[in-house]
Amino acid sequence: MLNTAILIVSGMVCVALILNLWRLLRGPDLSDRILALDTMYINSIALILLYGMHMGTGLYFEAALLIAMLGFVSTVALCKYLLRGDIIE
């Protein structure tokens, strides 16, 4: 039961990633693309965690934590660049 559930949820997250990619390519404005990237890194954290659960190891949490921190910093840096024209003033 658990392996089937992990496979089904992985499929859902992959469909979500494809929808995000569609918004990233199509997004009429720059902020739409940043929002799509932000959602994509969160979904990729979910995918990595599901892979770790499938493999039965806790080795992938560090990678997920790194992606969470770097994704947040990069989103804020992109927003700051669009807002001020510079990241560190």
Partner: protein
Amino acid sequence: MNFWVELLITILLIIGGVFVLVGSIGLSRLPDFYTRLHAPTKATTVGMGGILIASMVLMTYQQGYFSVHELLITMFLLITAPITAHMLAKTALHHQNKALKRTRSQQLMEPAREQQPPHHTAEHD
């Protein structure tokens, strides 16, 4: 594995996956940026929360001691999601993204873009 533990993990996983999918459908289907902004927040909080708590239960059951790595990621995502949404809304206001026509109180967008309090323009009018 114990049947009830497996059922609990499965239910948490399905809830998380459904919310992640709904967040992305909202991101791709909603009409303008300000409505699109609120859809992925559900994926961040409830969706990722469900998947992370399922992972926490599984790891605690498999390893025999309490696993708190996932709680760290959950807390981090819960703290950073509002900050990201705030920065993105500020960026959209700065770039003068068009809101839907039926959005109410659109006259408040201009003072918000100028970072002024709402009554500032009323004095000049």
